[in-house]
């Protein structure tokens, strides 16, 4: 594969590459790369949650547990960050991030967060049906979309609606309000134990006859998922999301139709779908190169992989995520994180452009995120409190070693760079190699991939 294609492919199905990666990856097909990748689940020590009877706890014990949960969730978040930054299995990691974006779910409980992310991890390039079913049964989703409150006598439509609107079919695509009500009945009684294990509360389940999409039967939740997947509109909706995430924010209808056909006729096999994209000539067309605005996580992880950036405190990554408004496990709402141009405004852009130079000159970030609610504004010099805590290590030697002999304009921009920037680079004398690199990745173009 030519260099240009390798860079583009792993910008999208990964977090960017260095020259050493390019050398290795140009010799193998995308399919082969996928085969070589292993599935990494996330595991932190959660033994303190074993055997807890939550209802039996006193108010104080509950408060302590909530406090411990916040710390554990941070631990899991940071582990995920490190995983994305250091893993060789970059396609998997990128797919994980995508499905977290797709199945947007705000999670506070670390046990449920670990369960949720591992469901995604185990199925990210597998069978979409299995992924969907397990997500629907996950404690995090049952809590977030109130499936727990969905009872025979008092149905709660929250999950039924988002299942159709956001996870499978798209708003008002081939379903009616009546369908939503009937689908909600099918999921009544779905519940989980404190441990996170799924169960169906038979007393709360409505086992009566339902009519969904014009078909009648004693459907349950699993049947609903089958009924939805039977619709080609579902394949279409997923492929449209995949297309705007991995190919181009502006949809090419013919290409999406093509993908939907592939996805549907291969029984929603995710791996075959992404291999098809990687093998399509149109994926590498000039109109698709360097046209996507990186999400903050893509931006930070890409930068960190390139320069081996490591956090020196557990808070560092959390603070960076907060500053850029993309916190893992905490999307803003059920619709998910922002996409594309939504990430860029007069507040975020200067910060994004400055970020690489700040991190790579002294590893300290002099910016305050919004304070936590329990911080005392009179204690210490709160202005500097964060920047002191927020340390990073970086490794220039590693960067130059891994990128020997490559043209940096190709490495960072795949040679798609505006003429005025081209002139700027040519006319300017840099004091050092480091300065040249910093200057390059401070261009607005570095926000694209």
């Amino acid at each position: 594969m030519e260099i240009k294609k390798v860079i583009h492919l792993y910008n999208r199905f990964g977090f960017g590459v260095n020259a050493a990666d390019i050398k290795k990856l140009s010799n193998i097909s995308f399919e082969k790369k996928l085969e070589k990748e292993s599935i990494d689940t996330l595991k932190i020590d959660l033994s303190e949650y074993d055997g807890i009877n939550f209802k039996g706890l006193t108010e104080n014990q509950k408060r302590d547990l909530r406090k411990a949960s916040r710390t554990k969730l941070i631990e899991l978040n940071v582990l995920w960050m490190k995983q994305m930054i250091s893993s060789k299995n970059i396609v998997q990691e990128k797919m994980n991030l995508f499905w977290h974006h797709h199945f947007s779910c705000i999670i506070k409980n670390p046990v449920y967060a670990q369960q949720f992310t591992n469901i995604i991890r185990q199925n990210a390039t597998g069978d979409f049906k299995k992924l969907l079913l397990e997500i629907s049964k996950s404690a995090a989703m049952i809590d977030f979309l109130h499936t727990k409150q969905n009872k025979k006598k008092q149905p709660n439509e929250d999950f039924a609606r988002e299942l159709c609107e956001l996870y499978t079919l798209g708003r008002d695509q081939e379903y009616t309000e009546k369908d939503i009500q009937e689908i909600a009945r099918c999921f009544t009684g779905w519940n989980h134990q404190f441990s996170g294990n799924f169960f169906i509360n038979k007393k709360q389940h409505d086992s009566g006859e339902k009519t969904i999409f014009g078909k009648t039967g004693n459907f349950n939740g699993e049947d609903v998922i089958d009924l939805i997947l039977e619709k080609k509109a579902c394949a279409h909706f997923i492929c449209k999301n995949i297309y705007t995430y991995f190919v181009n924010p502006v949809v090419n209808q013919a290409h999406v139709d093509e993908l939907a056909h592939v996805f549907y006729s291969n029984d929603y096999d995710i791996k075959q779908l992404i291999v098809y994209i990687a093998n399509s000539e149109w994926f590498y067309a000039d109109e698709n190169i360097l046209t996507k605005i990186k999400s903050p996580i893509e931006f930070i992880v890409g930068l960190s992989r390139q320069f081996k950036i490591e956090n020196t405190s557990s808070r560092s990554w959390i603070t960076v995520q907060r500053i850029f408004s993309q916190v893992l496990f905490q999307p803003p709402n059920v619709k998910g994180w922002k996409v594309n141009q939504e990430w860029i405004d007069s507040n975020s852009l200067p910060l994004r452009l400055r970020f690489p130079s700040i991190i790579l000159s002294n590893g300290e970030l002099n910016i305050d995120p919004k304070p936590n609610y329990d911080e005392n504004p009179y204690e210490g010099k709160s202005q500097n409190k964060f920047s002191k805590r927020l340390g990073f290590n970086y490794n220039w030697a590693y960067f130059f070693e891994q990128n020997e002999g490559i043209d940096f304009k190709q490495l960072f921009f795949n040679n798609k760079i505006s003429t005025q920037v081209e002139q700027f680079v040519e006319n300017r004398k840099f004091d050092s190699k480091e300065e040249e690199v910093i200057q390059l990745i401070s261009f607005p173009e570095y926000q694209l991939n």
Binding site: Q341, I344, S346, N347, K370, N376, P377, L448
Partner: protein, 397 residues
């Protein structure tokens, strides 16, 4: 010659306005700058959940004193408002504004199905949605989308922008002062790329979008730096974070900024432990800062066009906890400060402690009703584009 320039050049410049003859001063005040004739809103957010009961104290209420043996404010300590209520002693300066009829205290403000999480409840206040709905845009952001053209139409004095000021089409601008953004974009490197981008045709694609945003940001940055001409020492403001923020806003207003909404948060109200000490200090800071702010605007003739809204994401539990503090609660009091309020003073009856909602004050007035009044009665705009529920006017503003 413009009159403002005349005043500046011919009289005293740096010495200040003290010695300017009265007739010149009054001319300086009445609309020398066209932009100052529009309405401005200043939002002060008390973050962390201010305990409204220890702010406006129900001095004669037995339930209050019984449920708070350690942290209640005694009647003799408070500054008397009426037979039932007294201000926390830290609110001495605030009381002056109150006595001048510039303050409306609205009790039991909240929303249905309240959420006791800081983050969630603050988001609900910011987005003005129902408590089970999630939104990416804030009520002021939506106002901007509908009625403003520039990102400097709304400024938050902070390094990060609150959800309130996020719109779909445009967002407000978070700045700590008028120069930091300008300074950060004013090095060789940024100057070059902004200038060359300005000189070239930008495409409609994402690359073009990035450069356009950069150019717009630079314009806003230049606007702030250029327009910020009033730079007194703000000696009358407290040296605290809030005092500095309000001092900055006062200078921006007096400089004739075209900004309609200013936003400042006052942090640290999450008083689970030893509440009296921490809350009283925060309240004194608030009281002194707001007083200085109002005085500075009055002197400049800007106060008539400025409305100040103070809110917190929730009030606190009526019963104190085991560590001389209070836990997260529900409805709370809220302040509106301005000249010509329709009903200055205590707007409605004090919180009903006989009928609590799971230990908390139940809400009687929906905060969105107040937002909606601000949009229609203060800004004179249609609120239905921003607040989905239709409310009758509370006749406050």
């Amino acid at each position: 010659m413009k009159r403002r320039a005349f005043v500046k050049n011919t009289t005293l410049g740096a010495v200040g306005t003290l010695f300017i003859p009265q007739f010149l001063r009054s001319m300086d005040l009445v609309g020398l700058d066209k932009r100052t004739s529009f309405k401005k809103l200043v939002v002060i957010q008390l973050s962390g959940g201010n305990d409204g009961l220890n702010t406006i104290v129900p001095i004669e209420n037995d339930i209050y004193h019984r449920l708070r043996p350690k942290i209640s404010v005694s009647k003799t300590d408070t500054i008397k408002i009426n037979d039932e209520l007294g201000f926390n002693p830290a609110l001495e300066q605030f009381n002056k504004l109150y006595k001048d009829g510039l303050v409306s205290v609205i009790n039991s403000v909240g929303y249905p199905n309240p959420n006791r999480s800081h983050f969630r409840s603050m988001d609900i206040w910011h987005t003005a949605t129902n408590s089970n709905e999630y939104s990416k845009t804030g009520w002021l952001g939506k106002y901007m989308d509908a009625y403003c053209d520039n990102s400097h139409s709304m400024l938050e004095i902070d390094s990060q922008l609150s959800l309130s000021l996020h719109g779909n089409i445009r967002n407000g601008l978070a700045v700590k002062n008028s120069f930091s953004l300008h300074k950060s974009l004013n090095d060789n490197y940024f100057r070059h790329i902004i200038e060359s981008a300005e000189a070239s045709d930008l495409h409609e694609d994402n690359q073009g979008y990035l450069y356009k945003t950069l150019i717009q940001t630079n314009q806003s940055a230049k606007y702030l730096a250029k327009t910020h001409t009033v730079k007194d020492n703000n000696l009358e403001f407290p040296k605290s974070i809030l005092g500095t923020k309000l001092g900055t806003i006062s200078q921006f207003i007096r400089s004739g900024f075209g900004t309609q909404v200013y936003y400042a948060s006052h942090n640290g109200f999450d008083s689970h432990v030893n509440q009296r000490k921490s809350q009283d200090r925060l309240l004194k800071d608030y009281s002194d800062s707001v007083y200085a702010f109002v005085e500075s605007l009055k002197k400049a003739g800007e106060f008539d066009d400025t409305l100040i809204l103070t809110f917190s994401e929730f009030g606190r539990r009526v019963k104190e906890n085991g560590s001389s503090g209070t836990d997260h609660g529900k409805a709370n009091n809220l302040f509106i400060i301005g000249n010509n309020l329709k009903k200055p003073g205590i707007y409605n009856e004090a919180a009903d402690l006989n009928h609590l909602d799971d230990g908390d004050i139940a809400h009687k007035i929906d905060f969105r009703n107040i937002y909606s009044d601000i949009i229609t009665e203060w800004f004179g705009k249609d609120s239905t584009k921003i607040i989905s529920t239709n409310f009758n006017s509370l006749e406050i503003i």
